[in-house]
């Protein structure tokens, strides 16, 4: 076999065979076993231009640059999380250092349900691997890097959305099974980003039983045109594989071919594995397909053992729903910069919202009040007051200074931090520009 990849592809393949959330949890030791067997038997790693790498171990500082872990990072994060995040960082570094053209981090546990504030695990995720990776890159290579996420997991990427909701240099597109039918129950077309990054959050909920047809309609008519407009420096596919027709946790009908073709068209610089729990019938084939597609090689012979060509046919009702949503999103994308922010958010100083966040894995309920300052000079100071039950920590205050923070917001942030010390036992200040996390305990 004398095959050469068109694109040099780096694989950070780390199945963490000795780690699970719990022995019978879907996120278990066995999860990538069959993928590894398939990849080895196909001889993918012998193809010239496909190279395998070990993950790095991310540091606590890498985590603190992205998250605010409460009460502190050390008590929430363990080595497996740092390795999974480090796998994403390694993949990104391979691309940035031009050692490879593209990289695919096949890592676990996944990350896209982890919010900026972290009390524990939710949706099998504790820290957001891809956000930790992006914040690492922006710190190292400049915060003006334009990043586009395309999250194709069946679940709404609520964590990544939360972290980049008000970040003008990061476009976050999530396509997922409709939140009315699946965890986490969010991700509707009206969520379009905060006042500092309006229009740069895009959610396309897909009806249950959407097939390759619906997925590719959305890709061709919404995602690719938007990416063309946004013109990012890096495209990241948060590659969840639980849209597959055999996945036990969802009700979608995507095939391995559908996933591979998506990666061919999307042509991402980086793919980071998210969920996907049909570990025998789907993952081996989807992962092989994604690798070939990213390497620029023929994937047309990949097929699940139970594949049936009828699977890709989709009802016209589903098609119509998707078309309508695509049209709506496309028109709001086109108008994104014409919007009067103060009128849209109905405020002149702070845009305030309330959020209830449920940690299904850790069984924690969190209530957040998020205040974002409407600022003409930067994307705006952010203040998050948060309380989690049944934890006994009490209310915490979290002040976030964005990368593009202006002097006024910066001063205001540090003042608030000092003043609030008397009112909060736990107060945090995350200064992106200075790359530091302050806390009063």
């Amino acid at each position: 076999m004398q095959i050469k990849a068109k694109n040099n592809l780096g694989l950070v393949f780390f199945p963490a065979f000795d780690w699970s959330i719990s022995p019978t949890h879907p996120e278990r030791k066995e999860r990538l076993l069959y993928t590894k067997d398939q990849v080895l038997e196909e001889g993918l790693l012998d193809i010239e231009g496909i190279e395998e790498y070990n993950p790095l171990v991310a540091t606590i500082d890498d985590v603190n640059r992205t998250h605010i872990c409460i009460p502190d990072t050390e008590s929430i994060i363990s080595k497996p999380h740092l390795i999974s995040a480090g796998g994403a960082i390694k993949a990104a570094e391979l691309v940035m250092q031009q050692e490879v053209d593209k990289a695919f981090a096949i890592i676990r546990p996944p990350g896209h349900h982890a919010f900026r504030i972290v009390y524990g695990a939710r949706g099998f995720c504790t820290v957001n691997n891809e956000a930790i990776m992006v914040e690492y890159l922006r710190q190292k290579y400049g915060s003006d890097l334009k990043i586009a996420f395309v999250d194709t997991d069946a679940h709404h990427a609520d964590g990544t959305q939360n972290i980049y909701y008000n970040d003008p240099n990061v476009l976050h597109i999530s396509i997922h099974q409709d939140g009315r039918t699946l965890f986490p129950g969010t991700g509707f077309t009206d969520d379009l980003g905060g006042p500092g990054a309006f229009g740069r959050t895009i959610n396309l909920p897909l009806p249950t039983n959407t097939t390759d047809q619906g997925l590719h309609y959305a890709l061709d008519n919404l995602i690719l045109p938007i990416l063309d407009d946004f013109d990012p420096d890096l495209i990241i596919n948060a590659a969840g594989q639980d849209n597959h027709y055999s996945d036990p946790l969802t009700q979608m009908k995507i095939t391995a071919q559908g996933y591979a073709e998506l990666n061919e068209k999307l042509d991402p610089d980086l793919a980071i594995l998210q969920g996907g729990y049909s570990i025998e019938s789907a993952l081996p084939y989807i992962n092989t397909g994604i690798m070939l597609a990213m390497a620029g090689l023929d994937y047309s012979y990949i097929k699940e053992p139970d594949y049936n060509s009828k699977i890709v046919k989709q009802s016209t009702k589903i098609t119509d729903i998707i078309k309508k949503r695509v049209d709506k999103l496309l028109s709001s994308w086109k108008k994104r910069d014409e919007i009067d922010i103060q009128a849209k958010f109905n405020t002149q100083d702070y845009y305030t919202t309330q959020h209830n966040i449920f940690y299904d894995t850790a069984q924690i309920r969190e209530n957040q009040q998020i205040k974002i300052k409407i600022c003409p000079d930067c994307s705006g100071l952010m203040i998050i007051d948060s309380r989690a039950v049944p934890l006994s920590i009490g209310e915490t205050r979290n002040i976030i200074l964005p990368f593009d923070v202006c002097n006024e917001c910066r001063q205001l942030g540090y003042n608030k931090y000092e003043i609030s010390k008397s009112d909060f036992n736990y107060i945090y200040l995350q200064d992106k520009k200075e790359d530091k996390l302050l806390t009063n305990h």
Binding site: P23, K29, E30, D37, G43, Y53, K79, L297, P305
Partner: protein
Amino acid sequence: MQLGIDIGGTHTDGVLLDKNDQLINHNKLPTDYHNLADTILSSCQKLTSNSNRNNLNRLVLSTTLITNLIIKGGGHSTGLLLIPGPGLNPAWYNYSPYTKIISGSIDHRGRKVKDITEKEVKKGVANFIKQGVNNIGICGKFSTRNPSQELKIKKIIENNFPEIKNITLSHKLSGKLNYPRRIATTYLNTGVQKPHNKFISDIQTGLNKLNLEAPVYILKADGGTMPLKEAKNLPIESINSGPAASIMGILALTKPTETTLGLDIGGTTTDISLFVGQEPIFKPKGITINNYKTSVRGLYNQSIGVGGDSLIQIKDGKLKIGPQRKGSAAAFGGPAPTPTDALVYLNLTNNGDKKKATASLNPLAKKLHLSTSELAEKIITKFCSQIQTKINQILTKLNNQPVYTINKLLTDNTIQPTRLVGIGGPAKTIIPKLANRLNLKYEVPDHSAVANAVGAALARTTKECTLYADTSRSYYNIPELGIEKEITDEFNLETAKKIAQQELNSNLKNQTAEIKITNSETFNLIRGFKTTGQIIKVTAQVKPGRRRTNAN
């Protein structure tokens, strides 16, 4: 007593060792490529006498026959029957011009997904025969998990085409997952089978004439031996036995006990090997020969194109050593200056004509505005630094091999050699200098000129097998040994290890083997939040090493 014979590119070295492994006799003959069997037999004849032939316990051959056949493309035409199922584009498996894709497939857990059709097989084979091809290799994807389709095809051929005598099944050659490598290995093995069998029967006939009845073994790429009878089906295992003999020679002559770098400094190249503890390490995936990536297990060995006879030139005002070789060193009548000439000039070796060496070095020294002795020193330094750079590259690569568990990722298993051993012509002078640069202890053993033959003579029989058990599907198999058995839910990792060891042991028959479990993994199968079974993987191996005295 034992005989070891190493057939090299130009010379064939033979050694006779006594029962305490001490060298009694050795010789060096020119290799006659057209008649390797004769070269071997005359080496045997010269090493032994009529009186001591009866006391011989064994004869081990390290031969380049198969390596050369493959490199020259001299094997027989081979038809491939492939059962790839879905996956990579089957057109990529373009090993043989005679290839037939058979529909049928097995999945990653060894479940049959699609049956093969007899008609397709018959049509394919009939077509091969029509084209004059009667050697056939059969390779199915995941056949190591379930060989039934390969076996079924073999049966169809035997029942319908008695004229086909030579069939290789891929699952018998390797228990490891890697379909393209298994195809390449099957293809090469099938093609060289007939010339190899002729070689074996010539040797047997010749040895009978010499009244030499001791069992004969062939050295394999993994530094172990296989009995001649087994070698008949597995000629491919004997590729790369030259470097393997050299590594086993280092092992036999120096008995490494710590992490050791081995260097074989030859005329054209320097071969670098590694020992961790008393064991040489393996290539991670398998040997590559003539651009074929195979699944043949081989000892780790990296060549660098600098040796004692490498051509020295000045390019862009800089000294350049190798990778070309124009002939022997000027001091030995060769046409151009070499590192050996630098050693001769500096009186670091007793042999060679110093005048000739000086004459070859002088023009270069002038060009670089150096004295001849400065140049000679510079050559030696450069020679060492090129090898040092390669060693560092090797260590970096080996120390960054992918791992799949958190435990392994966080455990520091860095290979850091503490000792250097060297064989080959210039080793006596070069090794101490190199050891000094690398800050290592060193050793240059005696008899290093015949190290390869000694290595072959003392190598023990090696064998590997992989057991794969799936308790929810109630079976285990060991593809290399052709074993498949039903099991119950009670089957566990400990049982699996025991069985792998027992089966390997009974396969080796008369060797008192030291069988090690080199890999063992177990995974609970969880379906619907319940454990429904276990997948168990075990690899058992007799590692290469010195044969124990009084055993085969």
